[in-house]
Subunit: 311 residues, 2 copies
């Protein structure tokens, strides 16, 4: 049995090793993904994004358990450097996460958040593809929601949850500025805070003013993730959105958009690697020196490098 | 007098128009930048990054005034969608910002945070180059600090301020996970909060544990930006760091690293545009369809597209 067959059969050790190979990138990763790709497209992908401290991980933990109670298997990819899944949070959180470990129906992988951004988005997608091919029914991708790239990662999901907490106008502003458009479901976590209802009203007002709103109106749900309150309702909302996607043809649209951005990312990366491979290192460094000393502007430098490559 | 000459002479209208041309990208932007680039390299670049609500903009506002009091001109580039400079914050903040307007020695530009990330980092650098060429002595780049890309934008500065506020362990964790390495100066803003000193101690402990620490030990400064408290000391710390960079040769090193990442960004972008220009649109869409339907994996799709281009 090859490692690929073992992944398809759901062997945990093979999955872990394959993810590591995929993360390493390069030709070997491509080979693996080419073999797995035809078996993907079955998992329900759920993005969970929000600022640090909003309780995203605790919420993902609760959601994962809720799906397990429905006998569905769950993959979790944590891209958030502050997530306990990624080892970034305080001890209490990490201990809490342990409640998922020991369950063979759950596979958790944290992503290194070092390195180039484009690279991170691409690797995250590839890791999700491995879990999808391995047969996990639901795959969560947890990201910190302030950066555009993290938003892009979450946006590759079928359903994106934007998690916020009650508080100052600031939080709402932050939501408004960055991630209003990508939310399929809003979650006001820590809803035992006295300002929770006010936050719901503010959000709803903003949503009502949004001219880009399609026929899906993102519901706003209140949760207290630490206690599990509101989680069954949240699962219902996610499922309702998934049914909506499928019935309106938007699922196919999103899948195609994902395919497009995936191909463009890989194209960009491949073109750069090949161009750099074709350039003599010394010449490249000489051009960088000249740009650093302002003798040449960076656009002219690129023209020069590209001409060299052809010559 | 050409528009370029007017920019070099500091004409505000010409600067604003040139920035717009640069933001639009394409060949025209390259032409402009090629002409301005030899005149850059004189501005002191200060990155200011931190989570929404830490008071970054108010701090930049205060710092700008302090530099103006020293008769130095100031450019401000706001990439943060929650910044009042970008029009994203609550009314009170925006009113406060008006205290800088009407001063010809200050130029404020906010960046659209839509669109691709790589694009945003590149455009931000180009806008900074225009302000640098226009002769502004100090240029601030304000970004929200949670995403890696925003960190990359701030990292293009000579001195990067990481702004945080006293509070829960969570905040410190977030700093630790993402942006410890990029801080040249730490700012604990809203330092009238009772936990301020505790936050200083936590940060100092973390910094002392960092094995990557060079010969510059990032100072930790307390400020109350709304009242201006601690701002003169912060200016001193920034200047001290700048002198350190120059005297150790690290400034030249950072300038070269910036040149390198600039060239690589433009190279990546140029290669992709050219490749896409060379592909028949219909064929490209057909390949995307096949990937969307999982008949072809995205890596194979890229191989196919690249072969087509050459043929």
């Amino acid at each position: 049995m090859t490692q690929i067959d073992e992944v398809l059969a759901g062997n945990r050790r093979a999955i872990a090793r394959t993810i590591t190979r995929v993360e390493r990138g390069g030709r070997e990763a491509h080979t693996v993904l080419a073999q797995l790709y035809p078996q993907t497209g079955h998992a329900q992908l759920i993005g969970v994004t929000g600022a640090p401290g909003t309780g995203k991980s605790t919420l993902v933990n609760r959601l994962a358990k809720a799906y397990r109670d429905q006998d569905r298997t769950v993959g979790i990819v944590a891209v958030d450097p502050t997530s306990p899944f990624s080892g970034g949070a305080i001890l209490g959180d990490r201990v809490r996460m342990h409640s998922l470990s020991g369950d063979d129906g759950v596979f958790i992988r944290s992503m290194a958040t070092r390195g180039s951004l484009g690279g991170l988005a691409r690797t995250t997608r590839d890791v999700v593809a491995v879990l999808d091919a391995a047969g996990f029914d639901v795959v969560f991708v947890e990201t910190v929601g302030a950066g555009q790239s993290e938003v892009e990662i979450a946006d590759a999901a079928h359903t994106t949850l934007v998690v916020t907490v009650p508080g100052l106008g600031d939080d709402i502003q932050a939501v408004k500025a960055g991630i209003l458009e990508i939310a399929d479901v809003f979650v006001i976590n820590k809803a035992d805070h006295p300002n929770a209802d006010q936050t719901v009203v503010q959000l709803r007002t903003m949503l009502n003013m949004d001219p880009h709103m399609g026929d899906w109106r993102p519901p706003i749900l209140k949760t207290i993730a630490t206690a599990g309150d509101g989680v069954p309702e949240l699962v219902d909302a996610i499922e309702e959105h998934y049914v909506h996607l499928a019935s309106t043809g938007e699922k196919a649209q999103r899948d195609r958009a994902r395919a497009r951005s995936e191909v463009l990312d890989i194209l960009r990366h491949t073109l750069l690697s090949r161009a750099l491979d074709g350039l003599p290192q010394a010449e490249f460094e000489r051009v960088i020196d000249r740009v650093g000393e302002r003798e040449m502007d960076p656009y002219a430098a690129v023209e020069k490098l590209l001409k060299q490559k052809v010559a």
